[in-house]
């Protein structure tokens, strides 16, 4: 599914658009950065409640093109700026991580 279609389906508030045309088929979820670093598949969407700048470092190094921030939290200005530079899409979703992952599963995305 394309990133922009996915954001629309989730009713997400897109803070930086990134590459909206890029396809995403896998998802990772978690707030421990080393856990995500060690386990996330490249190219996956990442669901987290972390909003600070270091999130971008992990996303860049693991090539994660979409960060979905759960529970209505917003990216800090530093994170937003870095994601704009790196063409990573950041979007805020009102639901919890669980809720978002449930919807992503319904949309056909896997682990």
């Amino acid at each position: 599914m394309k990133i922009n279609e996915l954001c629309k389906a989730l009713g997400a508030d897109v803070q930086t658009p990134g590459d909206g045309e890029r396809e995403v088929t896998q998802v990772t979820a978690g707030d421990l950065l080393s856990f995500v670093m060690g386990t996330a598949p490249e190219g996956a969407a990442w669901v987290t409640i972390q909003t600070h700048l270091n999130v971008a470092a992990v996303a860049v190094l693991k090539d994660l093109p979409l960060i979905l921030i759960a529970a209505g939290r917003k990216a800090t200005p530093e994170l937003k700026l870095r994601c704009e530079e790196e063409k990573i899409c950041i979007a805020t979703v009102g639901e919890t991580i669980y809720g978002i992952c449930g919807k992503l599963a319904e949309l056909g995305l896997g682990e």
């Binding site: 421990l32 950065l33 856990f35 060690g38 971008a56």
Partner: protein, 142 residues
């Protein structure tokens, strides 16, 4: 590659704002050199975790990368507090990160295990009160 490519970065302790920049630079250099993507991925994990260890635990240090014909050697040297029990530090889930670092999502206790898992050769030496030296080698496919 005629000559090995050598990169060296001074990492500041507790500077979370630029953390990850050196790792990103090394990954981009590897990509630019046309190194296979699996090696780039593994090197990214190793350098990021090693860099974060310098930031979180060691009060800073040096991160070096030496890229040659058949391998990349990544090493860090610091003059931090050292690791009293390396066996414990290598256990997944064990961490001594501060509350502040944990709130930011660091301190999963996966840093050193992630480095080892992504290395072909992994060496670590540490002396409490003196510092820690870590070396990770990733071999290129033949």
């Amino acid at each position: 590659m005629a000559e090995p490519v050598s990169l060296e970065y001074k990492i500041e302790g507790n500077d979370y704002m630029v953390a990850g920049a050196a790792s990103n630079n090394i990954k981009n250099t590897l990509k630019m050199l046309g190194i296979e993507s699996d090696v780039c991925r593994r090197a990214a994990v190793v350098t990021y975790e090693a860099e974060m260890n310098l930031v979180i635990h060691a009060g800073g240090g040096i991160l070096k990368a030496l890229i040659s014909e058949d391998k990349i050697e990544l090493c860090t040297v610091d003059e931090g507090p050292g690791i009293p029990d390396i066996g414990k530090a290598m256990t997944e889930g064990y961490t001594t990160a501060s509350d502040h670092a944990r709130e930011m999502g660091f301190g999963a206790g996966m840093g050193l295990p992630n480095i080892k898992r992504n290395s072909d050769v992994f060496e670590i030496e540490s002396t409490p009160g003196v510092g820690t030296q870590l070396k990770s080698t990733i071999l290129f496919q033949k």
